[in-house]
Symmetry: C2
């Protein structure tokens, strides 16, 4: 089943806002067993929107549209959809009750402008948006190709243009659907999860599908691919493997699609039965499962183990702490951290000895060990992480070029330090790789100490 | 002059990687006076790429394509372009020298697979990619519509499909260009800046254009709009104003386009002459100019003033430090910070008194003042920032609901603290707003003390 996405909004088109909606929607659709074939961004402009809808309705089973649903004159999506489907605008009772409920709960008067949010094309089905006043609209009546003479002709022409798809086009008439969602990310995500994807699955009778993430660290993507090739080649036909590399980490994603007689529990069982084979070849590089990032993995593991953590960051500048504390519940295990950018702070706040800094420099095994042990003792935690290095693009020396980073992790029993030499002078990349390396080292230490 | 963007890559289509290239390219094009009308993402697949190119070449003056230029079998962009333009693949001498130079500088042998990077369609002009082996290709010979019978027919059909644009389509033949760039963001950005935009400006004779950012904080977008309306209405016709809001901050962007007799210096003078009017109405909300973010503004200001900074973060969890240290040169002013998540760390590392925490709680004016003064004194800096609050989604109480945040800034002379009450329980949004509020408070303090 093929899906296209159209994200509408001048702010996306001019690059003021990075379009995260397309990626978020694609991930959710893929995880539900649907195939995204194209995504587009157009501005809040009638002709551009109309042209995009025509293109996508011509080659997709489902077209998902976000944005342009606000009550201001900039927002034209509803009007264009009404025109496209040859419908007329009506006030929808369910949408009106939803708008009233939200205004009441916020203690505001409902203004005429905001009441307009409840007006939708008559031919659509409204899916209730619990989080906002913009309606989510499902157009599945299949009449868009025939209601309007002008459009009918255009479809005919498109049929000709795509000669090889002429028949398909004809068959699809009346079967494909369009769903319009608000562009506000948290409303869009809630609606996708709770309204749109369940309805799409039912409408298109999409079978069961599950995915499993395995986080691999400490081996390059191509070496990993060579290493696990025998295992990969022996995977059952209904299971696909994807390599998703980023900043020194590779996420392996297994996607299992149901055949006949298979439901979700059976798929989970099938995938579980394949993992021992992977662990027996590549176990030492696997740092965890079922998370999107290493920060999430560390976060969950520390909560599960009921252990505490402190951080002492130099070159990573607070990123290790901020990625962990981005997750709700971090206060269960994260007591605090020191961003020790200057040598004085390394000495005063972490207890790194002045002589160590003079003799070995800030970027050295001796310093990183004193940092990690200092912060762990001072904050009295079970574990600690420390980083010190040259993130670049400047500041390198012949002995310690840009990309030289020392990382250490410590428990109450021991300290492990590691030297990394990243071969590039891109600051953010060096920071991101250091952060992932640090999380992976901590995961390994925690696993060995369980 | 209209531009379209096509970003090619399975990793973008499936949502593994958020497509930041489209936004980065749009921003650069807009800043150069070009108008982006549509952006698309398609996978590494011949038919999808061909269909996207046809669509965009049918309605844009310039089509910029990224991705799919690697040496592996997944990468098909070059082949599709060769077919589209009815050309043949040849080894390009300049591209070959570039590949050789890069391999030599890294100390690697040039393999046959990598030598393929120097093969390009004969009809293109290679723009040298100083940072990578993938070539940047400029297709401006205008022969794509006539060289190949099959394509000729398809164009005809498109002409019919877009009845109203038939003539335009015909006129455009031979005038529009296509540029293919690598998808790696730092190579793409370097090529855009140094090769593609200068060449597009020359080719399409784009006039001078300048932009100016003014960062406004402490007033909502709609109130700001009402406040500066008289000034906005009086702007000269060649100057446009955009409101770019995010996390409690509004960026006003003035774009000035040259008329006859105007060059860049004249435009700068014209914009400068308008600013006193804006400051006289809204000066107290303006925190700075000529930066993209408040972190960048604080970073530059501290370097200019040769002053030092320390941070004490609770609810922002290291974000204030990490956004500053993302900029090269942060070590000139940033001595360090404490992420004081637990009360013990607030006491031990910052010197917050136990009695203060017991009497007023961690989220209180008394605590935030002791945090900011504690970190400033302990790290001996000119300025300091502190935050403590309830980021959510849980952890709120009737007196201190989610979104309650105290922020303080301190200099050697004084401390200013402020209570914020964000009305939402979205954790990341509450963190981002707190970070921006903290930077803005520091900017105001620095300005008053200059």
């Amino acid at each position: 089943m093929n899906v296209s996405i159209i994200n509408i909004g001048d702010e996306l088109l001019i690059g003021q806002v990075v379009n995260t909606n397309a990626a978020a929607m694609s991930k959710m659709l893929l995880a539900a067993g649907m195939n995204v074939i194209e995504t587009m961004v157009v501005g809040d402009e009638r002709d551009a929107i109309m042209s995009a809808i025509r293109r996508q309705m011509g080659h997709s089973d489902a077209v998902l549209v976000t944005g342009g649903l606000g009550p201001t004159k900039d927002d034209v999506t509803k009007k264009v959809l009404c025109e496209f489907f040859g419908s007329r605008m009506v006030e929808n009772e369910m949408a009106l009750q939803n708008v009233k409920r939200l205004f009441e709960s916020r203690g505001y008067e409902l203004t005429p402008v905001n009441r307009q949010q409840a007006w939708v094309p008559e031919c659509c089905e409204v899916l209730n948006n619990d989080l906002g006043t913009a309606p989510c609209m499902w157009f599945g009546n299949g009449e868009w190709g025939t209601e309007n003479g002008e459009r009918g002709t255009e479809r005919g022409e498109r049929g000709t243009e795509n000669g090889e798809r002429g028949t398909e086009n004809g068959e699809r008439r009346g079967e494909n659907v369009l769903v319009s969602l608000p562009g506000v990310p948290f409303e869009m995500e809630w609606l996708m999860r709770n309204r749109v994807i369940p309805k799409l699955k039912e409408h298109f009778k999409v079978g069961a599908i599950i995915t499993k993430n395995i986080l691999v660290q400490g081996i390059g993507e191509s070496f990993l691919s060579d290493l696990i090739e025998p295992w990969e080649l022996a995977l059952p036909e209904n299971i696909k493997l994807a390599y998703l590399p980023s900043a020194g980490l590779t996420k392996l994603r297994l996607t299992a699609v149901a055949g006949t007689m298979q439901d979700e529990p059976a798929l989970h069982e099938q995938v579980a039965s394949l993992l021992p084979g992977l662990y027996s070849i590549a176990g030492k590089y696997i740092v965890g499962e079922d998370c999107e990032t290493l920060a999430e993995l560390v976060h969950k593991r520390l909560i599960d183990m009921d252990k505490t953590l402190a951080t002492a960051e130099s070159c990573t500048g607070g990123s290790i702490a901020s990625h962990l504390t981005a997750h709700a519940g971090a206060s269960h295990y994260f007591k605090g951290g020191v961003v020790a950018y200057s040598n004085e702070v390394k000495e005063a706040q972490l207890g790194v000895r002045h002589e160590t800094l003079v003799a070995h420099g800030a970027v050295s095994e001796e310093t990183v060990r004193e940092m990690v042990e200092g912060v762990r003792k001072r904050m009295d935690t079970d574990y600690a992480i420390a980083t010190t290095g040259v993130a670049g693009p400047d500041g390198g020396t012949p002995e310690k070029p840009v990309g030289t980073v020392w990382i250490a992790v410590a428990s109450r029993e021991k300290t492990v330090a590691k030297l990394l030499q990243f071969g590039g002078n891109r600051r953010q990349q060096n920071i991101d790789r250091s952060v992932n390396q640090a999380y992976a080292m901590l995961m390994r230490m925690m696993r060995n100490e369980e």
